[in-house]
Amino acid sequence: MISFRVDGQSGVPPYLQIVRQVRQAVRMGVLDVGDQLPSVREVVGAVVINPNTVLKAYRDLEREGLVEVRAGQGTFVRSRPPGPPPSTHFRLGHSLARWVREAREAGLDDESMESLLRITLQAEAAASGSEEIA
Amino acid sequence: MSWVAWRQYRSQAVIAAALLAAFAAAILVDGFQIAAHWHAILLACAGNSACLHQEPAPTLVNGLVSDLPYLSLIVPAILGMLWGAPLVAHELETRTSDFAWAQSVTRTRWLAVKAGLLLLAAVVCGGVVSALTTWWSGPGNAQSGGQFSPGQFDIQGIVPVGYAVFAMALGIAAGTVARRTLPAIAVALGGFITLRLLVSDVLRPHYLAAITTYYNLTTGFTPAGSAWVLSQGAVSRTGQFVSAGWGSLGTFLPASCQSLLQGPPSKSGSLSAMFSCMQANGWRGVITYQPADRYRAFQGIEAGIYVLLAAALIAVAIVIVRRRDA
């Protein structure tokens, strides 16, 4: 079973934070198919949010097909989200770490690295977008 | 600080002033009537003292306010309860003490000023009421000479000021100890009444050693002026005492006198015959009293007792307020 964290200052709606944390947990293998999610009462008591928020998050996950509600038992993981398996995440994480070390040796600070990553992501998105249009 | 105390108590002060004014008005109106009445009696009796004390006694007292001066017996207690008891207790209950004690004034000064103002108010109220009552009672005192007797002693002269100051101090101290207003009120009321009864019934007769005089039963004896008679009766040669009600007389009398009891003793004739018989058998009249000229000394002693007690209570209150965690 997993526990959630809800950051009130992040600007991301709490229900979305829960949805993302469940997705991430399943993606990273923390949760497997058939595992039970914490009950609404447990979540609410632990992170102090509105029960309706948890319900809304679980409903969204159910609509995505990620979880299913079994009457009288609770909410369970039904399938894995589309995307690479956990091992891929692991491998890419390693190569990114290598790149970070390289960048630091070249004299880049954290802020420069973050902005470089952001710019690259935007540029790639633009490129793929124009490709699609084209 | 004085302004603060005044600001907190000004509505009470207005109420007290209004009550005092009403009391003064009633007493003055009635007092002048009594005085006029008394003058008429003096004129009619033309200086004859027997006439002045004649039976049935001329009614001096107007019915409307006759009981009013006796209210001053309980008023000090009420003032002490309603003003004194909440002084500290209510501030603690509403936590306004946290405000008051957090200002740049020591608690001692805070309490001293507030208590001082209240005690001053008690002195003024007690003094005004007592002065009015004393003046109002003037003709009555002149006629019956009762100002030394219990009940009259307590509402005239300077003792009412002592009572008022004591009641206020008791209220303040009770509130400081109890930290809650209602119990403090109960303590102030109960304490005041108990002490007053105790002092007037048990202590007061012994402020100064009473004078005991033996006299001839056939001639009788009346102490001069407005003396306070503590007990009167007859005593036999063997020391057997019978009080002036003569209720238990029969059992102690020699047989020769007992026959005289068969007639109604209320008829003065048979009573004097019995007195002669008793005198002949060695009985003497005995009276224990406080002479009239001690009236002022007694007033001073009693007022002093209450003022000293008040001072002790205020000291207790100050010590507690200083020591206690707020």
């Binding site: - | 008429a40 009619a44 004649q54 001329p58 009120i185 019934d201 209720g247 238990s248 029969g250 059992t251």
Partner: protein
Amino acid sequence: MNWVVWRQYRAQGAIALALLAAFTAVALWQGLEVASQWHSLVATCAGNSGCLRQGDLIRGVANGVPYLTLAVPVALGALCGAPLVAGELESRTSDFAWSQSVTRTRWLAAKTGWLLLGAAVCGGVVAVLVTWWSGPENAQLANTFITPQYDTQGIVPIGYAVFAVALGIAAGAVARRTLPAIAVVFAGFIGLRYVIDDFVRPYFMTAVTTYFHLTGPGVSPPGAAWMLSQGMVSPTGQVVSFAVPDMYGGVLPASCQNLLPSLGPVKGGNQSMNAVYSCLQARGWRGFVTYQPASRWWAFQGIETGIYVLLAAALIAVAFVIVRRRDA
């Protein structure tokens, strides 16, 4: 609700019970002593009523206690009645009590009901004890219509206690603060007692007036009657008391006025007055005495108790209206 009332007032109840017990002890101790004195007096006097009147009944230390019972209603009203509503409003616990599933009416009914019952019991027990204790004194005294004979005995103390508590409750509901409510209890209770004692009680029932010949023997009302006034009345209705300044004050007919003995030593005064009385009698003057007969004592007690209980009921009604209506 009853349990709630019990929980809230058990401390006061215990204190009241302890005080009642102490009072009972004093009353029994002193009462038995007075009773034995009375018995020896009765034995001594052998049925002579004059002798009985003269006998001293020594009540000793507890002499003032019957007077003290006059304060019982005020103490109950100030310490229990006044905070009943006002105390809860001040501490805001009314917010707790009034947001339970009990209407304010029921809440107030339970609290006032029990408190008034308690007040009646306290007043009643004290009154019964004082009445018993004062039995010999009542038998001895001619007047049981005055303080403290009348207002510490019988059933009026119950009326006083109920009224004082009701006054405290109503004053607390109106003022919403305990201390002013206590002040109102004191002023209101003492004020009403004063007004009723002096101005209303003499007129509960039409007083009996008996006229008598000035030359004949005087008339005194039988038993422990309440003498309201006595004196002489002219055919035109002018009233003159027997007091010296009144008689010499120039209101008597001139011919009779002249017969008045010159003021001097009292000795033999009665003889010389007889001429004056004959003169007045001849001119149609009569002696009178106005009184409430002793037989009306219980009727008076009933009427007075009724007045106080009715006033108490009105005050309680006011408290109910205010508590129901007022925003908490």
